[in-house]
């Protein structure tokens, strides 16, 4: 009986998640859930690259590429976003290939700097190329309803889309981690020369991880664009929102694991909203002061993130249900 407690809890949790939109009519609560699911997806996508020890602070570029390609195909050529997905994936693939050149030659902080510079270049081009992207004036997605146009009156459809995206991203992140690619990435991260000597093609492995991560981020970007229906470079290419936030979620949740980033996203996203409307209104900027302090304290006192706090519980839970401790 004990063995199945995990399954029962899991099933219950899934059921609860599916019923939420029916119980909560208010779109504000749905918005928080949807935003959290988007961030779970984004952090999981970012995490795929982190397995290989490469920390990108430029995922906003792929997020925005996906958003703009999908939106422009729809607004200018009337192509439904579902088909636009292929365009977004292709464009982010090209972006990924460009970023793969620095990836091969650089590691650590220098690669991170290259990703920041890459995003900055794309952001400034998006602002300057007004007749394509409408620049900072913003690109509005027209309000014509329908599943084909990814535009809805109520918040529920996007809740389910975001939930599906989150589950898909985490599944992909988990699949990559326990696949040949995952083992090779982790080996390359801990000792690239030893890995290379044992037959791991370091460059190929890292570039594959980058491309998977980039295309997944672009897909999330496309759905986010249709969810937020106003596209402007300052938001989509924002360093804080889509480059730094996934990295923060992963760090605070637990780096390099599958579930760490998920916990990080689930913890940080509602906290960010909560801090803003409680503290933000009391004193300008107070919420960000608390945010900064949380970050410094996390890195200082529990670098393993929340997951490192949960693992003792996990181990005790496993012993309780008499699990022999498989090595996952």
């Amino acid at each position: 009986m004990k063995k199945y407690t995990l399954w029962i809890a899991g099933g219950l949790g899934a059921l609860l998640l599916l019923l939420v939109p029916l119980y909560f009519k208010s779109t504000f609560v749905l918005h928080i859930y949807t935003l959290t699911f988007f961030y779970i997806g984004l952090t999981a996508a970012w995490n795929i690259m982190a397995y290989g020890g490469n920390l990108s602070l430029g995922h906003a570029s792929f997020f925005a590429i996906g958003a703009y390609v999908g939106a422009l195909l729809y607004v200018k050529l009337g192509i439904s976003p579902w088909i636009g997905l292929t365009g977004a994936v292709a464009a982010s693939f090209v972006g990924g290939m460009i970023l793969s050149m620095p990836l091969i030659r650089l590691r650590g902080p220098f690669f991170t700097l290259a990703t920041i510079a890459f995003t900055e270049v794309l952001r400034l081009i998006a602002i300057d190329w007004r007749d394509l992207t409408h620049g900072s004036a913003g690109l509005n997605i027209p309000f014509d309803l329908g599943w084909l146009n990814l535009t809805f009156k109520s918040g529920a459809p996007f809740y389910y889309i975001a939930l599906a995206l989150a589950v898909g991203s985490v599944w992909l992140s988990r699949w990559v981690r326990y696949s040949a690619l995952g083992y090779h990435l982790r080996a390359a991260a801990s000792d690239d020369q030893a890995a290379e000597a044992l037959g791991v093609d370091f460059n190929l492995v890292q570039i594959t991880a980058l491309l998977i991560s980039a295309t997944l981020t672009a897909v999330l970007g496309l759905f986010y664009a249709f969810y937020s229906y106003v596209l402007e470079p300052a938001t989509l290419f924002s360093f804080e929102l889509f480059s730094l936030q996934p990295a923060l979620n992963a760090i605070i949740g637990g780096m390099g694991t599958v579930w760490g980033p998920v916990i990080g996203a689930v913890f940080m996203t509602p906290l960010g909203e909560f801090l803003r409307f409680y503290l933000g209104t009391i004193q300008q900027g107070l919420n960000y002061v608390v945010y900064g302090i949380i970050l410094i304290m996390t890195v200082r006192f529990f670098p393993g993130g929340i997951l490192s706090l949960l693992t003792p519980l996990g181990v005790r839970f496993k012993r309780w249900i008499g699990d022999t401790g498989d090595n996952q």
Partner: protein, 403 residues
């Protein structure tokens, strides 16, 4: 898969705690106040909020609206995604039936879209992008001028004062535009271009620069090459000072006309000192104006200094003060009810002639909810004060041309 589900159950209860802060419902009029009070627009966001706040305090002292006190539900639109979630929170959690705000056009576009989709009234008091009232939403109203009105003020001034002073005809005047590449700068630059075509003004150069840039020498060089008669500048905040300083440093002796934003700040004159003299500016009504046509302005400034301990920092608070009063008057006539039809009827019936509100604007809404009697006045920095110089009716000083 089992771990994900267990985690999901945990996250639901976590979210329950964080979002159900529902406020008690008393006998008051709840209005949402959405401004960017943190992030890079914090300064102007807070200044704009203060205008609406003063209007609320004043109205509550006079008995509120239809016997009920007005309460603002605060929202911080620091980013677009924040603007969206705050609007939804105010509508669902705080049960507000109308929202005013915003100062920044992109925040207003997102917030008013969310409100429109829920048939909640959205009164824009300070953002100027034309598109806000061009989306055909019945519930979006705007009391302040649009970027087109800004440019109309500039073009009229250039044609009716600058041209004769320089002894040139309208189509001989050469105009250079230097604007920050954000949504504020782009929308004004586009509006100016359309108006210039109609009136024959020659636009000799349009220079867009990134609003995070800390050096504008290249903009100055390109303007020097184009050698316009006047430079129309659209600056968000510190780039206003930067532009004038580097113009002086690099010998660009051409008059500059700002478009609100950074040029309306008191810190513009404090920082530039004597160099600021003569810099023209088009914006909402400022404080040194012929008060015969701006009833209620002194009262506003007195209460502002009483509440915030210093003189208002920019004209945007005055504009928000005037707009908030218009909303309170509408609600007074509908007896405090937010019924869409009642509000629409009362608002459309409003017909106040220019010179009878605190900003000197009239109030007449067109079918798209835009106040067509909101106009921009031309002001000029003279010895650290922004004085109104055009049109004559509102002017307290004659404009002078400083090279």
């Amino acid at each position: 898969m089992k771990k994900l589900a267990m985690l999901a159950a945990a996250c639901i209860c976590l979210m329950q705690i964080s979002v159900t802060g529902v406020f008690a419902e008393e006998k008051t009029i709840q209005i949402g106040a959405l401004y960017p009070i943190s992030g890079n627009l914090a300064l102007m966001g807070e200044e704009s909020w203060r205008g609406a706040e003063i209007a609320r305090i004043l109205r509550n002292r006079q008995g509120g609206v239809a016997g009920k006190q007005i309460v603002f539900r605060q929202g911080d639109a620091s980013t677009n995604s924040a603007a969206r979630s705050e609007t939804e929170r105010m509508i669902e959690q705080d049960k507000v039936k109308a929202i005013l705000g915003t100062y920044a056009s992109s925040r207003c576009m997102v917030a008013s879209e969310v409100a429109a989709r829920k048939d909640i009234f959205y009164f824009e008091l300070g953002a100027i992008a034309n598109a806000i009232t061009q989306r055909g939403y019945k519930t979006v109203w705007r009391t302040c001028p649009t970027s087109l009105d800004f440019c109309r003020g500039q073009v009229n001034f250039i044609i009716n004062w600058l041209a004769p002073t320089l002894g040139k005809k309208a189509n001989e005047i050469k105009v250079g535009i230097a604007h920050e590449d954000g949504e504020y700068g782009t929308s004004v630059a586009n509006s100016f271009a359309t108006l210039a075509k109609k009136t024959g003004l020659q636009i000799v150069s349009v220079e867009a620069y990134s609003n995070t840039s800390n050096d504008l020498s290249s903009v100055i060089f390109r303007l020097r090459k184009a050698a316009p008669d006047i430079v129309v500048a659209v600056s968000s905040s510190q780039d206003a000072i930067l532009l004038s300083r580097q113009a002086n440093e690099l010998g660009l002796n051409i008059p500059i006309m700002g478009t609100g934003g950074g040029h309306s700040f008191q810190s513009f004159a404090d920082g530039l000192g004597p160099q600021a003299n003569g810099v023209l500016n088009v914006d909402f009504t400022q404080y040194h104006v012929n008060t015969k046509y701006t009833p209620g302005l002194e009262e506003f400034v007195k209460l502002y200094q009483e509440t915030f301990k210093h003189f208002p920092r920019a004209g945007s608070s005055l504009a928000n003060f005037m707009g908030a009063n218009v909303i309170f008057n509408i609600l007074e006539k509908t007896g405090g009810s937010f019924d869409p039809e009642k509000i629409r009827k009362v608002a459309m019936a409003m017909d106040i002639q220019p010179g009878h509100t605190a900003t000197g604007w009239g109030v007449k809404f067109d079918k798209e909810g835009q106040n067509v009697r909101a106009e921009c006045l031309v002001t000029q920095w003279r010895d650290g004060k922004l004085v109104t110089v055009w049109p004559k009716k509102f002017a307290v000083m004659e404009p002078i041309l400083v090279k």
